[in-house]
């Protein structure tokens, strides 16, 4: 028994010593590696930055001539730089990458067995904003692994080719899903030319797809789709989709959204989420003719409906703020006639109204400060 213990202690001691040595070794190796890479990368990095600063007018051949090892050391920094530049400098930098075969390699790696490599390649192609990679990236939208699909979606957004829109929408229709917000962001980046595709997709059988397209249209400011979206608001079968339609009618800001949104506010038996979204959207819309409908909601039973109605009124300019003040005065009048005086507990309508007016005053003051200073 004693022997076993001694053996175990010996083993433990060896592992303890080994681990301590390993900790030190890891640090030594890492620091040496960093020094080496920094040294290797220093020259190419400077040359690259100067080349880019000159918008690619001088020094191109030198960059192509940099030995592979030095380039590998400098590449991560150079890739990071891609995201920080625009215009000619960006184009110049991309040209360096292309001449060194980075794009070719990345396109090849899109077929790699390793998902990390596929994802990295997709990332690089997105950073390079390489339009000719779009078909291959669209293919990646059906990749086995979610993380690869996600990178592909992001890259397509970065590149911004509207031709990818329908492929992206088709790819949304899956069980293991790309996050909706990511898909929406990418669709928005594809620009106004994608609007037609998005509008058509509002009839897609999947609710999620419809919601994503609605959000994208709203962010794109696609005023041409207003009537279509209004129809979704009134007719769609899924609540979440109708809520999205309401929110985006508000974002679009066109008068055509006024009537459908107002219609949805009542009766109070409609889903709360929908009425809340519609109230908020009316505030976004900015049409003073919505004031009476919103004012009627101030004493709604549902907290968030009343809250959004009050804040919507706040944003509708003098007409809305007058309505808010009217509610408060009415309240004060009732209290006076009931002889209750200053200690009356405010009704929730008056409470919301006061809150909205106070915030309006603060916002006005903030705006003044910003424009004066």
């Amino acid at each position: 028994m004693l022997g076993v213990f001694t053996l175990v202690i010996a083993v433990l001691a060896v592992i303890v010593a080994g681990t301590s040595a390993a900790i030190i070794a890891v640090r030594v190796v890492r620091q040496a590696r960093h020094r080496r890479i920094a040294a290797l990368a220093a020259g190419p990095r400077r040359a690259l930055l100067n080349f880019v600063a000159d918008n690619g007018e001088q020094g191109g051949p030198d960059l192509v001539a940099i030995p592979d090892e030095a380039w590998q050391a400098a590449e991560p920094g150079a890739l990071a730089l891609l995201g920080k530049l625009r215009g000619e400098a960006h184009r110049a930098l991309v040209s360096v990458f292309l001449r060194r075969g980075v794009a070719r390699r990345a396109l090849g790696n899109l077929h790699s067995r390793s998902r990390v490599r596929r994802a990295k390649a997709a990332q690089v192609l997105g950073d390079l904003e390489l339009r000719r990679a779009v078909p291959e990236l669209c293919r990646l939208l059906t990749d086995r692994h979610l993380e690869v699909r996600v990178v592909a979606v992001r890259a397509l957004g970065r590149i911004g080719d509207p031709a990818a829109a329908w492929r992206l929408i088709a790819a949304l229709d899956r069980s293991d899903q790309i996050p909706s917000l990511l898909a929406t962001h990418t669709l928005v980046q594809l620009g106004p030319e994608a609007e037609v595709t998005l509008s058509a997709a509002l009839d897609h059988p999947q609710a999620r797809v419809r919601a994503v397209c609605l959000d994208a249209l709203g962010l794109l400011g696609a005023a041409g789709s207003v009537h279509r979206i209004a129809r979704v608001l009134t007719e769609d079968g899924t609540l979440d989709v109708r809520v999205a339609a309401a929110a985006n009618l508000g974002k679009l800001g066109t008068r055509a959204g006024l009537e459908p949104l107002t219609a949805v506010l009542t009766p109070a038996t409609r889903p709360t989420a929908l009425r809340t979204a519609a109230a908020k959207a009316l505030g976004d819309l900015g049409a003073p003719s919505a004031v009476p409908a919103l004012a009627a909601l101030l004493d709604d039973e549902q907290f968030w409906v009343a809250h959004e109605a009050a804040h919507a009124l706040r944003r509708l300019g003098p007409a809305g703020q007058d309505a808010l003040r009217a509610v408060i005065e009415q309240e004060a009048g009732r209290a006076r006639s009931a002889g209750v005086g200053a200690h009356a507990r405010p009704s929730s309508a008056a409470g919301h109204a006061r809150e909205a007016l106070a915030l309006a005053a603060v916002a006005a003051a903030a705006h003044e400060m910003a424009t004066v200073g």
């Binding site: 100067n50 730089l81 530049l85 400098a89």
Partner: protein, 124 residues
Amino acid sequence: MSNILLVEDDPDIRHLVSYRLTRAGFTVTEAADGVTALHEARGEPPDLIILDVRMPRMSGLEVCRELRAGARTALVPIIMLTARARQQDLEQAYAAGATDYVVKPFSPRELVDRVETVLARVTG
């Protein structure tokens, strides 16, 4: 020969902009963070300051406010480099005292053009 103070924590961007400005005929002083920037600016006020909004230790907005509060630096034109261009970000920049702003990702050529425009506006 105008003197420009460049305040930017990213060494690559700093090198790039500095190089470009030098080629365009300016003298450039570099600062990697807000504290150094204030030190440099107060020591010898430059003709224009390029200031990154997001920096460690002291944000660009704070640096801007401090510069506007000091007598020698209150009137130096400041161009802010900001990563986001939403209404409130711009309002914040102007509220802190910025003269103009450039949004990242940016084009170095446009930045130099903007520098020249602002300087012309101030001296003209």
